[in-house]
């Protein structure tokens, strides 16, 4: 196999797949390097069609195994016996946290990365978001605005297939959608009640990368809601279902798995990256690959990790880190249960099928000229209404035939609103190389130092009150409302560390996602985020990637990099 390529894409997840597709379709010879195992679309989704009684631990999983091998991953609600093969082994893949802090780093090291396990919610960021840092002074100003990304959001949505409803909201720009999935009877009722009382609020169906119409060899969603096992219908966007086949169809893609990129190598003479040094994690073999451009798509924190490890005489503290800001201003979303309410209404109505998305109530706070509440920026809610299942039997008294008879029927309606609040970019929330601990191959561990700040706490407190008020207005009886965020990482939206900005002295990447210091290295995963907004971020990463690929190829052709 050749070791010289036009481009090397580090990682095969949501953005790595996109980089591979775009660059190969533009004619570049691309090497995509994935640290984890190969997973073949369909054939390797080994639990996809299993029923609970076919699983050794009925889908609950083995706590003894989880304690030894999946101590962090098993705290993730998407981690089950059906999906455990799509998450990393924590024992084999350690990281550290700064003293006195906690961070749940939920990861999928495999071909397709977290595109196999993601939540599929697909939202555009708005100019409220791109302008926020400049407006309130947190972080550094984004060097792009919505108009820069809009055509690329269009491009991405057209290709991956997103179902949803356009609403004309300034906080959540409209997109190019397949027909929306349906609100259920209680959600429709709640929508009417909430929008009647608060005309500036909107309840709409989640915009989700699950197809409602067939698309290029991919089936429409079967409403199973077991996406994270892998979907052989190809009904949700993943690398395997979507970008990888497109990249492979060009004949320009070389894919290697079980290979971790240890460093991006820097040539001080040309002031460019020359390639990557890799380690085959199965054989222990090390080698180099060369390329004209490098796309960093390892997943936000791992992209930081590789750059921090890429030390040279010119960049003693990590590649592209002349600002000293590489690894800083990391973010997640501050998330908790805004409210859960029980409903007496619609007892004679129910649903059939498992819709793979919930509802969303987009951000409505601090969108105008005057501040609302004692916090900056905003939050949104995701959730939905459902009728309780047999699991209610665990928390209800009763034994015998009557108990069994009761659980035979659907339970009461309940509605849940989960808050996602914006996480402000702070220099003190950061990644660094652990000064002492190393992995099995001798590499320094990535250390995470992250805590949610006061603004996030205030936003969640406001959100808890508003969620309770909205569910009450819809006729519900609130049984729970929380306002403390989960441990950092719990939203699985960790991002930042190589933030975009105008100024090489205060940011790591420029408006085209190039490292300010090394223009042939593009960072287009979550690492490049300069602020978090409160939307699920993956669609933005994809749009940034497609845009950067377009730019990179133009620059290559023009001889500028």
């Amino acid at each position: 196999m050749s070791t010289d390529f036009d481009a090397i894409v580090v990682g095969s997840g949501i953005t790595g797949g996109w980089a591979a597709k775009e660059l190969t379709e533009k004619g570049l010879k691309v090497l995509m390097v994935e640290r984890g195992r190969h997973i073949e679309h369909g054939a390797d989704y080994v639990t996809e069609m299993k029923s609970p009684w076919e699983m050794p631990f009925r889908g609950v999983g083995d706590p003894q195994l989880y304690a030894t091998d999946f101590a962090v991953q098993s705290k993730n609600r998407h981690f089950t016996e059906y999906t455990q093969n799509h998450f990393v082994n924590d024992r084999e893949n350690p990281y550290s946290v700064a003293e006195g802090t906690e961070f749940n780093w939920w990861r999928s090291y495999q071909l397709g990365g977290r595109s196999l396990t993601w939540g599929r919610q697909s939202y555009r960021m708005s100019d409220h978001d791109f302008g926020a840092n400049k407006q309130d002074g947190h972080g550094v100003d984004w060097p792009i605005r919505y108009a820069d990304l809009k055509p690329w959001y269009d491009h991405v949505e057209r290709f991956i297939g997103v179902s949803g409803q356009n609403e004309g909201l300034s906080s959540l720009p409209d997109g190019i959608y397949q027909p929306p999935m349906a609100l259920n009877v209680l959600e429709k009722h709640a929508k009417a009640a909430i929008e009647a009382k608060w005309p500036d609020r909107r309840l709409t169906i989640g915009r989700t990368a699950n197809l409602t119409q067939e698309k290029e060899g991919r089936s429409a969603c079967q409403n199973r809601m077991i996406c994270q096992r892998g979907c052989s219908y190809g009904a949700y966007f993943s690398t395997q279902s979507s970008t990888l086949p497109a990249a492979q169809a060009t004949g320009n893609l070389t894919l290697i798995t079980d290979t971790v990129v240890e460093t991006v190598d820097y040539d001080a003479k040309t002031k460019r990256a020359s390639g990557v040094s890799v380690l085959n994690v199965k054989t222990g073999e090390r080698r180099r690959y060369a390329a004209r451009i490098i796309f960093m798509n390892a997943g936000a924190f791992n992209t930081n990790h590789v750059l921090l490890r890429s030390r040279s005489a010119a960049f003693a503290n990590g590649l592209g880190n002349s600002s000293g800001r590489l690894g800083t201003h990391i973010m997640d979303h501050a998330s908790t249960v805004g409210a859960i309410a029980l409903f007496d209404s619609f007892q004679d109505r129910t649903t059939f099928g498992n819709r793979p998305t919930g509802i969303v109530i987009p951000r409505f706070r601090n969108l105008g000229d005057h501040a609302e509440g004692d916090f900056v920026r905003g939050y949104s809610f995701q959730g939905g209404a459902l009728r309780s299942a047999w699991t209610r039997g665990k928390r209800e008294p009763g034994i015998g035939a009557g108990f069994k008879e009761n659980l035979r029927n659907v339970g009461p309606w309940r509605m849940v609103l989960v808050t996602f609040a914006e996480s402000l970019p702070r220099e003190t929330n950061r990644l660094r190389l652990d000064p002492a601990k190393v992995d099995a191959f001798g590499a320094p561990l990535l250390q995470v130092d992250f805590t949610h700040g006061e603004n996030e706490h205030k936003a969640l407190t406001d959100a808890g009150k508003e969620a309770s008020a909205m569910l009450t207005a819809a006729g519900g009886k609130v049984i729970m409302s929380l306002n403390r965020p989960g441990v950092g990482g719990s939203a699985i939206h960790e991002m930042g560390g190589a933030m975009m900005g105008h100024d090489p002295r205060t940011s790591v990447t420029n408006r085209w996602n190039q490292l300010h210091d090394v223009p042939n290295v593009f960072v287009t995963d979550g690492a490049a985020m300069a602020s978090s907004a409160c939307q699920n971020p993956s669609l933005t990463y994809m749009a940034m990637t497609a845009r950067a690929c377009d730019t990179a190829v133009k620059m290559l052709k023009e001889g500028r990099i």
Binding site: W53, F57, E187, R349, A389, G400, K404
Partner: protein
């Protein structure tokens, strides 16, 4: 150890009278507990009977025919829901228990205590009364840590994830193929056991 067992009073009597434990000394019993045997003989009969009382055969097979006792053995052996943790002495209403007492030891103690005799030798009516009493108490406020909630949770999970519970008592469709957002439902309609979001949040 002997001293502690004696102070357990009626609990000790209950233990010795319950089923297969008759030939064992208290020291033998607690040695087994300490060794972590998941479902020793002295508990197997009790677990089977309790599963049957919680989810009996009706017009569909109940928990015993669905294999729930075996699931309980697996679940407790591996500690699902923390079920392999020692039960705090304070939770033994019958008196102080040895430090290593497990969840089924607790169940045995409490049921024998409430029955005033070996639970398994009580009449079916009395067994229902005793277990109903234990269950009601466990679900009152302040008793959130009752080991019975853990055990009943495992019985419920074991049953409704079995083929019988999931697809005969309830309905199961791995590939619904469509989503109906608003359809009528009556008291005779069986719920879907694989409404995953409701299973998780409901």
């Amino acid at each position: 150890m002997q001293e502690e067992i004696s102070r357990a009073g009626i609990g000790r009597r209950g233990l010795l009278l319950s089923g297969m434990a008759l030939a064992l000394t208290p020291a033998d019993v607690w040695a087994q507990v300490a060794a972590g045997a998941p479902l020793p003989d002295r508990h197997r009969t009790l677990v089977t009977r309790v599963c049957d009382l919680v989810i009996p055969d009706t017009d569909t097979p109940g928990a015993v025919k669905a294999g729930v006792p075996a699931f309980l053995a697996l679940a407790i052996g591996h500690g699902i829901s923390g079920s392999n943790a020692p039960v705090a002495a304070a939770l033994f209403t019958g008196g102080k228990a040895p430090a290593e007492a497990g969840i089924l030891d607790w169940l045995s103690f409490e049921l024998d205590l409430k029955a005033g005799r070996a639970f398994l030798s009580a009449s079916p009516d009395m067994q229902i009364r005793v277990l109903t009493d234990l269950d009601s108490q466990a679900y009152t406020r302040g008793n959130e840590k009752s080991p019975w909630r853990t055990l009943k949770g495992l019985i419920v999970t074991g049953y409704y994830t079995s083929e019988i519970g999931a697809s005969q008592e309830l309905r199961f469709e791995l590939v619904p193929g469509r989503f109906d957002p608003d359809i009528p439902v009556g008291p005779k309609d069986r719920a879907w056991s694989n409404d995953w979001t409701a299973v998780e949040f409901g």
